[in-house]
């Protein structure tokens, strides 16, 4: 339903998306996972027709996003990251307005219908500015569902919500995934793991891994890297281990030596143990490495971190909104790396986001 081939987006000198390709199938929730500033929002904007790709091709529901933008737009429901709403309209009027622009018939009935689906019937007559953040998120979702689209694209729908609201939204997303093609972006790994049938991990505008959560895990375990901790000179140890025929590569790490086997199906551990003992070093630990997605994600996104900072600096210098956003993403990058280990901490951050936004609103009104 969504086919992306070699999609590229440049903002002047800065390349935000560097030729990504993936598919999202109907009846599945495809998770778009990556740190902020990785190019998730840019990709989604291109898929919804908000901005044209610099090059490459993407089709949604069989239509090219650039050449047949209007056809794509008719078939896509989109919830932008910032959930932009007209605050001075009531929820129902807002939905009716969107419906009229979409050229729907019976807009009132349709608006009431989607309000019921997202559980907001009671607040249909309330002005949007009086609704809570979670309710607004649901109004935004209702808007995306209004025309019963084949494809739903939700950009970080859980950001800034409290844990209960997050759970509600995840539930809704899972349900919707059954009968829609649903592309869903997040920077929270656990969320992606829970909700998605298929995961696309993106960093620095490039896809670094793709597959179902189970597939990704299996692939990594199959890779069979092994951590060796022994008491002995590291240099000699690496040389000795590298000499083993089944070992492809060995390198020093903080905890010890990380060994990559030549063939993932052949476990090198017996030979390693043998070599260590033969050399008279004392073996402390010998175990397979990295078995949860969290580590895969960290591993994959950390490799290019220095490059990311450089890019963000350039984006800052570029000025304008695009630059700001990229810069912000990069700045949050560091925070994320710290917080990524603990979901709770991240959600604290998310709540802070929410609080900040509420302050903004008060200042405005």
């Amino acid at each position: 339903m969504i086919e992306v081939r070699n999609l590229v987006k440049k903002y002047g000198e800065v390349t935000a998306v560097r030729g990504i390709s993936f598919d999202a199938k109907p009846g599945q929730v495809t998770g778009f996972l990556g740190p902020n500033g990785a190019g998730k929002t840019t990709t989604m904007r291109m898929l919804t027709g908000f901005m044209p790709p610099t090059s490459g091709k993407a089709t949604v529901a069989g239509y090219d996003v650039f050449e047949q933008s209007m056809e794509v737009r008719k078939r896509v429901g989109y919830l932008p990251e910032s959930v932009p709403l007209y605050r001075d309209m009531t929820a129902r009027n807002y939905l009716m307005y969107m419906g009229e622009i979409r050229g729907l018939k019976n807009v009132r009935a349709k608006a009431d219908d989607v309000l019921e689906r997202v559980g907001l019937t009671r607040r249909a007559q309330s002005r949007i500015r009086t609704l809570s953040k979670g309710m607004r998120q649901r109004v935004g979702l209702a808007q995306a569902l209004l025309h019963d689209p084949q494809v739903l694209i939700l950009d970080e729908p859980t950001i800034g919500l409290d844990p209960i609201q997050v759970l509600e939204i995840r539930d809704v997303v899972r349900q919707l995934g059954r009968d829609h093609t649903l592309l869903f972006s997040t920077h929270i790994l656990s969320e992606a793991e829970q909700v998605c049938d298929n995961l696309v991990i993106i960093n620095q505008g490039q896809i670094v891994a793709e597959g179902s959560p189970a597939q990704l895990r299996a692939e990594l375990e199959r890779g069979g890297r092994v951590l060796v901790r022994a008491e002995g000179p590291v240099e000699q140890m690496i040389a000795a281990v590298s000499a083993i025929p089944t070992v492809a590569h060995a390198e020093a790490a903080v905890e010890g030596v990380v060994v990559t086997p030549r063939d993932a199906n052949v476990d090198p551990r017996p030979e390693i143990a043998q070599v260590v003992v033969q050399n008279g070093w004392r073996l402390v630990e010998l175990r397979p490495l990295a078995v949860n997605l969290e580590e895969i994600f960290l591993e994959l996104t950390r490799q290019v971190a220095p490059a990311a900072e450089e890019a963000s600096e350039r984006a800052d210098a570029d000025g304008g909104e695009g630059g700001d956003e990229a810069g912000e993403g990069a700045r949050e990058d560091g925070a994320r790396e710290d917080g990524a280990r603990e979901d709770g901490a991240r959600e604290d951050g998310a709540r802070e986001d929410g609080a900040r936004e509420r302050e903004d609103e008060e200042a405005k009104s």
Binding site: T48, F50, I101
Partner: protein, 255 residues
């Protein structure tokens, strides 16, 4: 389809104007000022001047449009940019043109209502004298087109910046430049360039025709209607709306 979309945008925007206290405050301030000027003129010129001399309120409104126009339009697109609502709208199956045209017609309608209210002064004139109805037609038609042009031009700034105040200031400056083009043309015309006087005269005429006043104050305001004046206003509106559309497009392309 596109008409329905224009209508939907138009309806919403117009509703906003007629619910917004600022719109009423602006209309109040204008009408109070007009009332003061009109009533004092009636007392002063009573039995001295033809009624036509008092039919100047629309031209006063067009002059004040350099202040009022930006106030009316600054919100239109700057707010959508700021709130990010434009992102969603631009992913709906609606062209930017429909969106911008709808907004423009809404603000033009608001202006037309204010202009329409000044017809009260004209009705007063018909009770105390014999104003020239044909001339009044020119006065009002011109003021209507003039206002639309100012609104369309100031809308460009609303599309460029997110900051309403900046949009208003730049809009006022632009309109003032267009208003004063007449004076600039005179200045250019008085340059002593003896080698090529035709060039200077042509330049001065060109500058003058770019301005707003040459197409209203000297023709439609006195009851002469010229095809090129009407074309000027309509083309200015089309050009301004076209540029606005380009900017909205470019903004999202760069966003």
């Amino acid at each position: 389809m596109i008409l329905r979309q224009i209508w939907a945008v138009y309806k919403r925007e117009l509703g906003l104007y007629f619910r917004s206290p600022i719109a009423y405050a602006v209309a109040f301030a204008l009408l109070l000022l007009f009332g003061l000027i009109f009533s004092s003129n009636v007392s002063q010129l009573n039995n001295r001047a033809p009624a036509d001399n008092l039919n100047f309120i629309p031209s006063l409104l067009t002059f004040l449009m350099f202040l009022v126009g930006p106030l009316m339009t600054m919100r239109l697109l700057a707010e959508e940019n700021r709130e990010g609502t434009i992102e969603l709208l631009m992913t709906l199956p609606m062209s930017e043109t429909a969106f911008i045209v709808g907004k423009f017609f809404a603000v033009w309608t608001y202006y037309s209502v204010v202009l329409g209210l000044t017809l009260v002064y004209y009705l007063v004139l018909t009770t105390i004298g014999v104003p020239d109805h044909g001339r009044a037609l020119g006065v009002y038609l011109g003021a209507w087109l003039y206002g639309g042009t100012v609104l369309a031009v100031t809308m460009i700034w609303s599309a460029i910046t997110e900051d309403q105040i900046v949009a208003a200031f730049l809009g006022a400056a632009t309109v003032l430049v267009l208003y004063l083009a007449d004076l600039a043309a005179q200045f250019v015309n008085n340059l002593s360039f003896t080698e090529n006087p035709e060039f200077i005269t042509g330049l001065a005429n060109g500058i003058r025709e770019l301005g707003l006043t040459a197409h209203y104050n000297s023709t439609m305001f006195v009851g002469v209607i010229r095809a090129e004046d009407i074309a000027y206003f309509i083309f200015m509106i089309i050009a301004a709306l076209f540029i606005t559309t380009r900017i909205v497009e470019t903004r999202r392309w760069r966003a």
